[in-house]
């Protein structure tokens, strides 16, 4: 019974968290530019249904899209075009189950959760690429090609930082990593290089500057998402929100001990842990948003050469460093 409740509740929690993080990203981005930030803008049919608060503006944007016409280009491959966003949303929701939200989780204690979540995260980006290719527009083709090239360098770094933290904790399950951090120190202190690599990889996966290349709006309109509109675009945006919160939650779980500071014995400790989890998510998003605001976009070849010159060696070093730390901790 509790499992059934969790199956429904966790994606909703993840989505709401994604909405709040997206609001924070837009707010910090705007404030760093001397602007005010997102003001309330609601579709007429939504007024009165959900209350009106500026913090939920990204949610209103997604819901507004549900009322708009979904246009499918006549020359697009309809099956792949329609199914790619839906599959990527399903994968995003699946990945949400593997994160521990300050103690609440469904599958975080699965002994192989790292492996599962790695595959699922790759799959989400892959289906965005496929959706772009099926759109039959020169912009989407260029955008998908860029996304595929970017994935080549970013996924390797993401993997290496996830496995660095797994090596240190000697466990392939997110729950195991978190309990290791509860006993020992947070992994951000033990291996800060892995944390740095993870943050850069998150910038790449979520298309934030300087890796906004696949979605560069002055060159290729919207990249893979150019031809999407209406409900399909709402699907893509939702999967983006969920991915934001999943990746931020993953960072907090792997490097900041998931917000679990006090042992989860009493209900007050659990609430405290949850609040710490939320706080850490907001701080991580603050950093991401500021980097997004002060860096222009790389060119795709510059991004790849920068990644190969700096990011890959750093990732390799972080794995070696983790092995050394593991050895030291094992001996000590």
């Amino acid at each position: 019974m509790v499992v059934l409740l969790a199956i429904i509740f966790i994606p909703v929690l993840c989505f709401i968290l994604g909405v709040l993080l997206n609001y924070e990203i837009r707010k910090v981005y705007a404030r760093s530019q001397y602007r005010l930030g997102p003001l309330l803008s609601m579709h007429g049919e939504l007024r009165g249904l959900l209350g009106s608060s500026r913090v939920l503006q990204p949610l209103y944007d997604v819901l507004k899209l549900m009322f708009k016409e979904t246009i499918i280009p006549r020359s697009a491959r309809k099956g792949l075009f329609v199914s790619s966003p839906i599959v990527s949303l399903i994968l995003a929701v699946l990945s949400a189950y593997f994160i521990s939200y300050g103690g609440l989780s469904l599958l975080a204690d699965n002994p192989l959760s790292i492996i599962f979540i790695t595959y699922i995260l790759i799959g989400i980006s892959l289906f965005w690429v496929l959706g772009g290719l099926a759109s039959s527009s020169p912009w989407s083709v260029v955008g998908s090609r860029r996304e595929a090239e970017l994935m080549l360098v970013i996924e390797v770094s993401l993997l290496s930082s996830i496995f660095s933290s797994a090596i240190i904790s000697n466990s392939l399950s997110i729950g195991g990593i978190m309990s290791f951090q509860l006993k020992s120190y947070p992994i951000i202190l033990l291996n800060p290089f892995a944390a740095l690599v993870f943050i850069i990889a998150v910038l790449g996966k979520l298309h934030f500057n300087p890796f906004e290349i696949p979605e560069a709006d002055v060159e290729i309109v919207s990249g893979p998402y150019t031809e999407y509109s209406g409900k399909l675009l709402a699907t893509i945006l939702s999967s983006k929100y969920i991915l934001t919160s999943v990746l931020t939650g993953l960072f907090v779980n792997l490097f900041l001990s998931g917000g679990i500071i006090l042992p989860p014995t009493s209900i007050y400790n659990q609430i405290f842990n949850f609040i710490v989890f939320l706080l850490e998510c907001f701080i991580v998003t603050l950093i991401i948003s500021i980097v997004h605001s002060i860096a222009p976009r790389f060119r795709i070849d510059q991004a790849i050469s920068w990644a190969i010159k700096y990011l890959w060696p750093l990732s390799a070093f972080s794995i070696i460093f983790s092995i050394i730390i593991r050895f030291i901790l094992g001996v000590a």
Binding site: Y29, S75, P138, E219
Partner: protein, 543 residues
Amino acid sequence: MKSLNDVLNELGNILKPDFEITGYGCGGKHVRVKTSPNRLLDAAKYMLSIGSRIVHVTASDMGFDGIRLMHIYSLEHIDRHAHVILYAYGDGEQVKFPSVAQLTYQANWAERETMELLGVEFDGHPDPRHIFLPFEWPNPVESSSESKAGVKQVTLPIGPYHPAMLEGGFFKLFVDGEDVVDVDIKVGLNHRGIMKLAESRTFWRDLFLVGRICGICSVPHQLAFVNAVERILGVNVPERAEYIRVLMAELNRIHSHLLWLGVAGDLIGFKTLLMWAWKIREPIQDCIELLSGNRVHADSMSIGGVRFDVTKEQLSKVESKLLEVKRDFKKLAEDIASHSIVRRRTEGVGVMSLSDAREAGAVGPTARASGWKIDVRRDSPYSFYDEGHISWDVVVEEAGDVLSRVMVRVKETLVSIDICLQCVDRLKSVGGPVATSELKPFPEGEALSKVEAPRGELVYYIISNGMDIPHTVRIRTPSYRNIAALKFMLKGCRLADAPIIIGSVDPCFSCTDRVMIVDSKRGEKWTLSGDEFKNLAFKGWRG
């Protein structure tokens, strides 16, 4: 070093007996020379060989005399203000002239425009397609617009609707993967028939019309128009009015360069720079609004002076705002010039060498960034830009890439702020009227006037036949030349650099498209159909 008279004597020797000096303008420095159509090529060869550049090629229907084709050559490297306006009348109904575009690219677009405007034919033009009329208009010569550069390409259109461009222009890029192999430029999507409109309204109404050709460079258009009209009338502008004119022109330049800096930032993905640069620009807009009454269309010029006077309070407010902008902008410029990713995106990108710049006929900051030191305020000083009144420097960079163009504009902004502060200083002590009282009915005459707009050299040629309505108004904007020069910059660049290269010449499509067309009827087929697009897209990623 030759002088203007030597050049005219040699030209007379070459063109004997079809050589006749018919008039002078601007204190004897603008020389009007009449010749016959079949000698135009010889004259062009001689003028190009002594290093002059073609400012414009244009034509006007003079009624019984026929259609007059004018080549305007600049000899500013020999003597200040020196120009030779060589013209010839076509004969009868079939008007054919030899094309100068076969000698130099500078006349390419101008001759295509004249072909559409008046129906003249140019023998030997390398690319006689339409430039402003729609694609589907029957071409004078059926030539294919496909690139000859190879099979495996995708055609990627930037425009007519594109988020990179605020106005409509069509750049057809032939790309191979991420490399741009060739480019075909079409403008004319924003034209409003301004030159034709200007020929049917009185001079005063035209003044407000030309101020609305472009929102960003509204002041230089009015200034050039008013200079030309004052040259025809032969009136002198009072001293205080000239200082106010320089002040308005330089405020316009500062605001235009700051706007461009923001747009350039947006084009490389640095939206934050857009907001920062535009925030710094706000006090300048406040200054323009305080002095003239409107943030965008200053409407400050009047025939014979300016339309308003400035009080001491206004001057002190302007001065404090200018100092604030100078302080903030210096810091921002240092931050940006040392930003590693900005340098990576702009250094070595879109290079145009000095010889290419001369061949393409680039003007303004685009030319100065390639090392070519041309500036109308130095070569043909108007208002009070000469050394007797205001001291300033011409900014030149050597590398010719996007970073040089950014730095030229940044440094020019700082120079402009200094010029404005000098003007404000002088205006506190110089008194007198702000408009002349010697206006009289318009005589017959013609005049050429040039002004340095923020984007380059802006040329106006006005012919008056004694009525209160001008007979001919010909405008050649700097973006006309700079967008044509893009052809040299875009070949061989990468796709991701195309928007920033197009943006780095500061294209103002509103300025470029102001030619009259005869009819606005379109054919039924737009450029590529949906199937052709799809095939091209699939060809790109399958093949």
